[in-house]
Structure formats: C-alpha cells, structure tokens
C-alpha cells in the first residue's frame, strides 16, 4: 500500500526551543559555517517566531511542506533533481544531480529550500561525527528536508531483514519529530486514517500554509488560537503581520487561551 507521510504540528505546543533544528542539522550532516547568516545558512527545519502584534506568540516549525499537487519545485527543476516519490509522498531532492540553478528556490512559496553557498566544512576531526547514513552536499547545490529519508531506508532494511513488507511505524521517525520535547510535531502516514496525523489533519483546528495556492502540502498545523490559524494565508484585508517583537514591560495580567 502506498503511504503519504506527513506531519501535524501543534502550534500550541511548540515553545520554539529549537531542538528540532539542531537535531535536524545533526542528522543531515549540515555544517555550521562561520559566515552563514539567517539568509544564507542551511536550516532544513526552521522555526519562525510569529506574533499577533499584542501578546500572542507562536513558533512555526517549517520543514519542507512536501507539496503533493503541482509540486512547485518538482515541476520547475530542469534536470529532475527533485522528484515526488509516489510510494511515500516525499518530495525527494537529489543534490548530486542538481546543477544549482536555484529555480526551485524561487518556485517554493515556503522558502524551504536552501542553497549551499559554501563548501561544507568542519573543524579538524569533527567530520568523524558525520552521520554515515547521509551524504555531505558540496557547495553549489540546493537541498531541503527529505523527511530524514535515510531513516526510512534504515527502517525498510530492518523490515526486509525481518522478512516483512511493511515497516514498523516506530522505526521511521524523522529527527525533528524525535527531538521535540513537547511532542508538538507528530508524524505518520496520512493515508492511514487511524494514524495520529491523519486524525489531527481532519480536526477543525488543522490548517495548511498557503493552502489556496493549491500545492497540497502534507505538513498540517493545528492550533486552537484563531489568530494562529489566520496565519495560513496572507490576510487580504489587513496589515502584513511582523515577526515577533518583544513586548514592552507594562504591568498587568495577561490572559491566554
């Protein structure tokens, strides 16, 4: 049976600690380069702080949205370095085939794609800590979240060894999901109606970013807060919201919820 792996991220649980970002970088052999900034660094998982302009704060963890329909990046790549894996629903980036034209980056409305502006480098000896399951990308190619595809491979190998055709759900958990201390990121097969993600994606609190573009992302978000749900689309009739700004100390009790 075909799977459609997806996530349901509970924005009411994400405290923006950033463990997912570090675990992701560690799993995927992403280097910390001295000159990289928030606009040139590689953060396949990136947590955006947002605010409602008053006291509401939320953090939006953004991996690749794994768009399923008219996948913008798959459609534009001139040399098939991105493919939508129909068996898993994962949008696979193959950096070894990428020529670095960056057209996919302009196509992605979620800014989930990252270019290797530098050759990867680690302080002497630190390359020993690289995850053997994931190849290091050279400079000049685009990369993104592949939903820890190496872990899926490992789970498939394990299932094959045991003579099974289906992997155990517990064997395939992406690094960010595993690392989340509040369990905000839930992961699973959207095709499996009984899975936690599938159930969460059907609740009224569920939404997807820029769903009206028609790209059918497989990353769902949930929140009980209306203003957070409103972040799904650019508000047609309001000022664009700004990234979180510290709220000035004033005095008074503030209610949440």
């Amino acid at each position: 049976m075909k799977a459609r792996y997806g996530m349901a991220i509970d924005l009411d649980r994400c405290t923006g600690c950033g463990a997912c970002m570090v675990a992701c970088a560690s799993e995927n052999n992403v280097p910390r380069l001295p000159k990289a900034t928030e606009r040139t660094g590689i953060t396949p998982m990136l947590v955006h702080p947002v605010s409602d302009g008053k006291t509401g704060v939320a953090f939006i963890p953004m991996p690749c949205m794994q768009c399923e329909d008219e996948t913008p990046c798959v459609k534009v790549c001139p040399q098939q370095a991105v493919e939508l894996d129909r068996a898993t629903g994962i949008v696979m980036q193959m950096p070894q085939r990428c020529l670095g034209c960056r057209y996919c980056m302009t196509a992605c409305p979620y800014h989930s794609r990252y270019f290797n502006w530098w050759d990867p480098a680690w302080p002497a000896g630190m390359e020993r800590t690289l995850n053997p399951g994931v190849a290091v990308r050279m400079r000049g190619v685009v990369e993104k979240c592949n939903m820890c595809h190496a872990r899926l491979h490992a789970a498939e190998d394990k299932a094959a060894e045991a003579g099974k055709r289906q992997i155990e759900a517990a064997d395939y958990v992406p690094a960010c999901v595993e690392s989340c201390p509040t369990g905000a990121i839930r992961f699973g097969d959207l095709n499996d109606g009984a899975s936690e993600v599938a159930k969460a994606s059907r609740t009224p609190e569920a939404f997807r970013l820029l769903a009206r573009l028609g790209t059918e992302p497989k990353i769902y978000y949930t929140s009980k807060r209306a203003w957070v749900r409103a972040l799904a689309e650019r508000h047609p009739a309001g000022e664009p919201s700004q990234p979180a700004a510290p709220v000035a100390a004033g005095g008074g009790e503030v209610k949440h919820g």
Binding site: Q96, T129, A184, G252
Partner: protein
C-alpha cells in the same frame, strides 16, 4: 605515399566517428559526471558498524538520559532516552549537538600556564608546592558525584576548603535548606502532582532544570487548553517563552517578584484563603502592589486563582526567600504537589560565593561553569575541556571532553525522585585528566572514581529500593549482586529510587523574610559546563531569528 591534408582530415573524422562506437567516450562521460558529483575535498562520513549506546548527558547537572549512535568509533548522533524518569526522552537544543563538542576548535589539548604550553608534571609540581604552603580551596561544580567524594576526601585530608558552585535551581531551594536544615540536594518539586504552578521568573518551558521534565508535563496537561489540568502562572517583567505559553502571565515591574510574593501571601492570609498562620509581611497589600505595578485587585484575584485548584507550588528563578515563604503560606512545603524531601543527597558544601580573601591556591573542577570565578586572590588551577576565552586561571588543565571519561550522574536538581546513572567513556581522551584523577595521583588515599561508584552501587544494592530503567528494566531486588548493578549502570541503565513522600519536611516561618534581589532567569546555558556551545546550536542564533544569542557562543 605522403599523406595530404585531406587524408589527415579524413582519418581524424573517421577516428572521431569510430570512437563513438567504443566504450571510451561513454565511460569518460560517466566518470566526468561522477567526478563532478564528488569533489575530493568534501568530507564524507566514515563507514563503519553503527551501534547505539545508552548514556547520560554530563554537560550540566540535569542528567538527561541519552541514546548515542556510534559509527566507526565516534558518536554520530544523539537522542533522548525514552522512558527516563526525569528527562523523559527529551534533550535540550544544546545537547543535540553535544557530540561535536570534542572537536571544537577551542578544545584544550595541553596544560597551559598563563597562556604558555606546559606539562602535567609542572602543573602537578606547582600544585604540590601550593598544597604544602596552603591554604587552598577545591571547588566542585556538581556535588554528589563519585568525583565529588574524591575531591572532598582530598580536601579533608589536606585541610583544604571544599566549596561548590550551584545552579539557579539549587539556589532557589536555598531558603528551605536554611529553614529546615535539609540540604538542597535532597529537595525537589513534586511537579507531577501539582495542579497550579506559580513561577516567579523561572524559565520552566525554556531550560529550567531537566528540560524534558516540565515541557512534557506541560505538553500533556496544559498546552493549548484554556482550562488546563495544570495551571501555569508566570510572573515575569518580560514576555519570555514561558510567559507567552503560560495560562496566565503576570507582567510585574522588574525586580518586584518578592513584593508580589509577599502581597500574595498577605492576601491569602488576610482573606483566610489558606489555613496557615504565622508572620505576615510588614507592608500592606496596597504598598506592595505599588511596587509591582499591579492593581491590588489584580493581586487579590491572582491569590484566589492560586488556591482555586490545588495542590499549588511557587517556584522562583533563584534564591528568593519571599517566594519560599509564600510556599510555606500555601502549605506547599512537604506536601503532595509541593516541595518534597527525597532520598539521597549530600550535605551542602560551602557555596563558592562564600569564599573570599587571600588563599594560596584554588583548584576548580571542570564541572564548574566557566563564568564562575571565586572571589579570592590565589593561584588558580582550572580544569576545563574547552578554552572559554578570557580567564583569570593561572593553570588551564585539559579535562576529558564529552563522553570521554567515566563519571557518575546523581539525581538532577529539583527532581522529586532519586536517580543514579553512570556515563562510561565512549571515546579515548588523550592527554586529558580530570580533577579527581589529578588529586588521586597526588594523594592515592583520596581514592579512585571506580571505587567510589562501586561503593555507591553497594549502598543502592543493599538498600534494595527502586529499580533499573533502560535496556533490561528490573527491580534492584532482582539483581544478583552490586557488581551486576554496576555493570548494568555501565551499559546505560538508570537506577530510579523512590519518589519523595509528603510529610518528610516541615517548615515554620519565624519572621517574614525581607525582599531579595532578583536573579536573572536561567536557561539552558545555566549550569552548562562547557564554555562553548555546540556549533549546531550556534546555528540557532546565527542562522535563524529564533533566539537572541547568549553571551556564551562559539562565534
């Protein structure tokens, strides 16, 4: 026959055409394509058998259980140990990148004497000389370890002062130790049974104590709910992450936490919302409210909210007697869901802040955070695995790095349950030595780490309480011998003792404490002993706008 130019062209064309039917051009094309996919200077991961080991994070006292993925003899990935009684499968963002720390460019590889390379022999000789002249102090960063035993024993044998640095969580428990005589290392918050928590600036959701403990609890019982099973009230002058996700955020004026705690206590007692009677704050609610910037009515309604759903406990960011007194008023000391006395724990040594004046030498263990500098005039012997930049240490002595040395992991601060684990070395530590081994070489009578750990195992085995969590969970009583316990701990099992029970702690106020200065809330980096951050954690600060960079950063 002399070939003409035309012949040459013909031959050349024929050759080129013929080549297409040989494998040569296609092989070359293939090679070029493979070559252009792999530059020789791009590092590739080492191949080797992958295995998973269980251990504990030793970079701060909070004792998170860890799974370490090892490949070709090096750790290649860390994740939380599911089922750990305190850390509950979580690691902090710094911890996830900790396996790369050993190759940090700031790693200390040689003993340094005032910035100059020197040898262990010279360092030992200098310390022996200082020891002979006295007086000296030995500062520990994490008490209750086997290494602490060695340090303490050495200090006792040589007339040295044994002092310790404490984390913010331990400091916050200070007033109870002063009032009840129970050491802070035997005190913990029974958060799991609390239904209302009022935090005075403690970063409960952002690196307080063992990070997984409260975040998991909050996630299960509070997150996203407007009427949560666990009410978190955050008193803080700025909207921290904890404040942002709390059930209520009380936005007080900077430094007025004591005043608010006192005002709450006064309201509770005046309105008879609690049964406790005792000393009252001398100032009126209105006077105290004026200091906090809150309306008296707000404080009154907050006080009512506190007792609406018990058990309730107040947690302060640092040593704040007013908050402790509020707990006494709330009846949270020694009560279910409040502050409990648990097993284990050691007598609290002299706090490092208490050291002053002139001494011959001070030896600082690598578990002491880099920023902690005793206020004494002395020759400083500083153990550290990484160079943290500016230092007043005369001697910088390379300590083993992450997962490079045997160490035991006692109960983390503020835990309501006693735990014990052992982190065995997963990598060789070349040229480094920890303070305990250094001192044991000078005076073998101080004992060895192994013996101290074994002695602790004996004690646990003979007490016969609790059980092991890890690869093969079982009760201590099911174990054949103390050696088996030692062996199981070495394989990554975590011993869990019994949770503290209500009633073991009793506290009466003699007078209402005066206001105390507010300490800035601690976060993950508090108690983080490495003076540098893992490179990947530094990504958070430099490659996203998620967080403000802390003072301690690799960049």
């Amino acid at each position: 026959m002399i070939p003409t130019r035309r012949d040459l062209f013909a031959w050349g064309g024929g050759l080129a055409g013929g080549m297409l039917f040989t494998p040569v051009p296609w092989k070359v094309l293939d090679d070029v394509s493979i070559w252009s996919q792999n530059w020789p200077w791009i590092p590739q991961p080492a191949r080797g058998p992958v295995e998973e080991k269980l251990s504990s994070c030793t970079l701060c006292p909070n004792a998170c259980g860890m799974r370490v993925r090892m490949a070709a003899g090096s750790p290649v990935g860390l994740s939380g140990m599911a089922g750990h009684p305190v850390s509950r499968g979580a690691l902090c963002p710094l911890g996830f990148g900790a396996h790369q720390l050993n190759w940090h460019p700031s790693r200390l590889r040689n003993p340094l004497h005032r910035g100059r390379k020197t040898s262990w022999e010279e360092a030992t000789a200098a310390f022996r000389k200082a020891l002979g002249e006295g007086p000296i102090a030995i500062i520990d960063g994490r008490t209750g370890r086997a290494a602490s035993t060695v340090l303490e024993r050495f200090a006792a044998a040589h007339g040295a002062t044994y002092a310790a640095a404490r984390t913010a969580e331990e400091k916050a428990l200070g007033p109870y130790q002063r009032w009840t005589g129970v050491p802070t290392s035997s005190l913990g918050y029974d958060l799991e049974n609390a239904r209302t928590i009022v935090s005075f600036g403690a970063p409960l959701l952002d690196g307080w104590a063992t990070p997984g403990r409260f975040t998991r609890l909050w996630s299960e019982r509070a997150a996203g709910s407007s009427n949560p099973a666990l009410r978190l009230i955050q008193v803080e002058p700025v909207q921290s992450r904890t404040a942002a996700f709390a059930w209520r955020w009380v936005n007080v004026r900077m430094g007025s936490e004591s005043a608010l705690a006192s005002a709450l206590a006064r309201v509770l007692m005046e309105e008879r919302l609690v049964t406790a009677r005792g000393p009252m704050p001398s100032e009126s609610v209105n006077e105290l409210a004026g200091k906090t910037g809150l309306a008296a009515e707000t404080i009154q309604s907050l006080a009512r909210a506190l007792v609406e759903r018990g058990p309730v406990v107040a947690i302060s960011a640092g040593d704040n007697p007013s908050v402790a007194a509020l707990n006494v008023v709330l009846g949270a000391v020694g009560a279910r869901g409040g502050i409990l006395r648990r097993g284990g724990g050691t007598k609290s040594p002299v706090p490092v802040e208490a050291l002053s004046g002139r001494m011959r030498a001070v030896l600082i263990d690598s578990t002491v955070p880099w920023e902690v500098r005793p206020n004494v005039d002395a020759e400083v012997f500083r153990f550290a695995a990484w160079h943290g930049g500016t230092t007043t240490a005369d001697w910088l002595l390379p300590a083993p790095g992450f997962l490079e040395a045997l160490t035991d992991v006692p109960t983390p601060p503020a835990s309501a349950i006693e735990t014990y684990a052992v982190a065995t070395p997963l990598m060789a530590a070349e040229g480094s030595k920890d303070a305990a081994r250094f001192l044991a070489e000078i005076d073998p009578a101080a004992g060895s780490l192994e013996d101290a750990i074994k002695a602790r195992c004996e004690a646990i085995y003979h007490a016969g309480k609790g059980g092991l969590i890890g690869p093969e969970p079982q009760p201590v009583k099911g174990l054949a011998s103390a050696d088996k316990l030692y062996e199981a701990l070495g394989n990554g099992a975590v011993w869990t003792g019994e949770a503290g029970t209500p009633g073991g702690l009793r506290c009466d106020l003699k007078e209402w404490p005066g206001p105390s200065a507010m300490e800035s809330p601690a976060g993950w980096t508090d108690g983080w002993t490495a003076p540098v951050l893992p490179p990947l954690a530094a990504k958070l600060y430099r490659e996203s706008d998620l967080r403000q960079a802390p003072a301690r950063s690799d960049v």
